[in-house]
């Protein structure tokens, strides 16, 4: 005989931190599959290096802080950070890039700020940006997708590029975002014909559109499981679409790229569903999430179109992380029983 629970809480969620984190990791699988399919085994090497380093650094810091090591490793937040960093790094980069990036992400960006739930900035994006501004050459050498290169590096070549002295230069190609950013005095239509990465794929570049489609699928899974809300991703994607439509300029030589390119190339979908939705470093209320996502979309487009870096999601997210407490302060919902919404800054006046 089972008894009804008569005292609250009546509804319980079976989801602890680690289940949520593991489901988010699971949601990255379609995107990772597409990455491996188009960019080869280098993606998996990056992921393995990131995960191993992140777990070791998390354990080391926990040991230093005299906290239970296994308890914190089991919440899988370090694993998620490592996966998000791993999929952002260029495949076949030297082994020390993922290692340094993961140490920076876990130790500097997460644990020095107080650990899980206290980080002001998204750890994976801090790791990525530190690498990008420290080693700009290594970090912008992306290999071309398989159908442009007619095959991909085999395992021996992959390992000698990551751990040995073989140069990745033979395999690198400009990414679609770089091609469009650097086009001068050519129409977009001419660019689409001339560049093999557009010739073999759609208008966002071969491989990249499948990767973004994979992350979009994963994001829809997260929405379906109600692990994230729609506000931030939709706001980011809509802002990006509107801005790219405005500056599309009918594909002229001054065009900043089509909406399809901006939505399905680079890190757009990964950012929209896996980075911008970070519950710790993002805004808290639904209205706040909407503003946060729109800000990320705006900054992403501005940096992509007029900045010095080919992709911009990481910078945009970090800049909006700065603004998140400010957004939160002005989007606090009205508490039941109060006439006007309270502001966090009001409390000081009492």
């Amino acid at each position: 005989m089972s008894l009804m629970r008569v005292s609250s809480p009546h509804t319980r969620s079976g989801l602890g931190t680690s289940q949520v984190m593991l489901q988010v990791v699971a949601a990255t699988v379609p995107g990772i599959l597409a990455l491996v399919l188009y960019f080869g085994i280098g993606v998996l090497i990056n992921l393995a290096l990131c995960i191993a380093t992140a777990l070791v650094s998390e354990a080391a810091v926990m040991k230093l802080r005299r906290r239970p090591v296994l308890f914190y490793l089991k919440d899988a937040s370090a694993l998620l950070t490592a996966v998000l960093l791993g999929v952002s790094l260029p495949p076949y980069c030297a082994w020390w890039l993922p290692v340094v990036g993961s140490v920076v992400a876990i130790v500097l960006a997460k644990q020095l700020y107080g650990g899980m739930g206290h980080n002001v900035f998204n750890p994976a994006m801090v790791g990525y940006v530190v690498l990008l501004i420290s080693f700009p050459v290594d970090m912008t050498r992306w290999v071309g997708p398989t159908d442009v290169l007619h095959g991909v590096a085999d395992i021996d070549e992959a390992f000698s590029m990551v751990f040995g002295h073989m140069s990745v230069d033979g395999f690198t190609r400009a990414t679609p975002l770089e091609i469009v950013r650097n086009h001068e005095s050519t129409l977009l239509a001419q660019l689409y014909e001339a560049e093999p990465v557009f010739a073999t794929g759609g208008l966002a570049g071969s491989g990249w559109e499948m990767v973004n489609f994979g992350f979009l699928l994963g994001g829809l899974f997260l929405l379906y499981r109600r692990l994230i809300t729609w506000h931030a991703p939709v706001a980011m994607l809509v802002t990006l679409t509107i801005l790219s439509l405005v500056f599309y300029d009918s594909g002229s030589s001054l065009s900043k790229g089509s909406p399809i390119l901006h939505l399905f190339s680079g890190a757009t979908m990964l950012g929209a569903f896996f980075i911008v939705t970070d519950p710790v470093s993002g805004a808290t209320s639904n209205k706040g999430r909407f503003i946060f996502g729109a800000g990320v979309g705006l900054l992403t487009f501005v940096i992509r179109a007029w900045g010095n870096y080919p992709d911009a999601v990481a910078f945009a997210v970090l800049l909006m992380n700065f603004a998140a407490p400010f957004i939160d302060n002005y989007t606090l919902p009205r508490t039941y029983g109060h006439k006007a919404p309270r502001r966090a800054t009001d409390l000081e006046e009492r």
């Binding site: 500097l108 020095l112 530190v130 501004i133 080693f135 700009p136 290594d138």
Partner: protein
């Protein structure tokens, strides 16, 4: 309130009231020019010289300075010594003067110097003030050099590079390649964020050392058997 305990002045300047690690004054040059050891030594020497001289003069003129214009007078005294230092550096270490650039004239706005002039030199006799300026300057310079060394090793993999700018051509061989000639260079350590990271880590280290010393000191206090309990609330630490 003459403070003539030189031991305490020394300890204050170098450790317990260190301008860079405790007062957090003069952070602008601290963060801006500590990309290498030679920059750090150059700015440290200049700051120490200005700080010592301005403390000396402010202290000896303290009875003549009316309360209402004390700050403007102090600033003018400091500005005089900064101009002297700037001209000296221009004459003898011209390349380093070019590298440090605006941060040499900006020493005049360094809060450490005005702070010591106002908080210590205007209230204390000449010799203690001189000592205070010297020790505060050395404490500031040591932190500058430490941050410079860490950033240079992490950022470039070298130590003591370009020392000939300060110590003449003989110092060219001082350069030590700590991490090998193939070290790619961790650029973020040279950029401003690296300065904040290193300064933050040093402050954390100082707190950790202080906390450990505190624990040791309190561990030495033993409770004698038969002693009467005095405090009845709180923990005996």
């Amino acid at each position: 309130m003459a403070n003539t305990n030189y031991g305490e002045i020394t300890r204050n300047g170098l450790w317990s009231n260190n301008p860079a690690l405790v007062q957090l004054l003069g952070l602008c040059p601290l963060l801006a020019v500590t990309g290498s050891v030679v920059n750090a030594i150059g700015l440290g020497l200049a700051t120490t010289a200005v700080l010592t001289c301005s403390n000396l003069v402010v202290s000896s003129a303290r009875r003549q300075m009316p309360e209402s214009v004390r700050l403007p007078i102090s600033v003018m005294i400091i500005a005089t010594f900064v101009t002297c230092t700037e001209l000296l550096m221009k004459a003898f270490t011209y390349e380093l003067y070019l590298i440090l650039g605006i941060f040499i004239p900006l020493i005049v706005t360094n809060c450490t110097i005005l702070g010591r002039a106002d908080a210590f030199a205007s209230k204390n006799p000449v010799l203690p003030s001189l000592m205070d300026g010297l020790m505060m300057g050395i404490g500031f310079s040591l932190v500058l050099i430490l941050i410079g060394a860490i950033r240079e090793i992490v950022g470039h993999g070298t130590l003591l590079a370009d020392m000939e700018l300060l110590f003449g051509p003989g110092a060219r061989d001082w350069r030590i390649s700590v991490l090998g000639e193939n070290y790619p260079g961790f650029l973020v350590a040279i950029l401003p964020p690296g300065a904040f990271f290193v300064a933050g880590l040093l402050i954390a280290c100082k707190h950790a050392i202080d906390a450990r010393n505190q624990r040791r000191r309190s561990a030495r206090v033993t409770i004698v058997s038969g002693a009467k309990r005095v405090r009845t609330t709180g923990n005996i630490q």
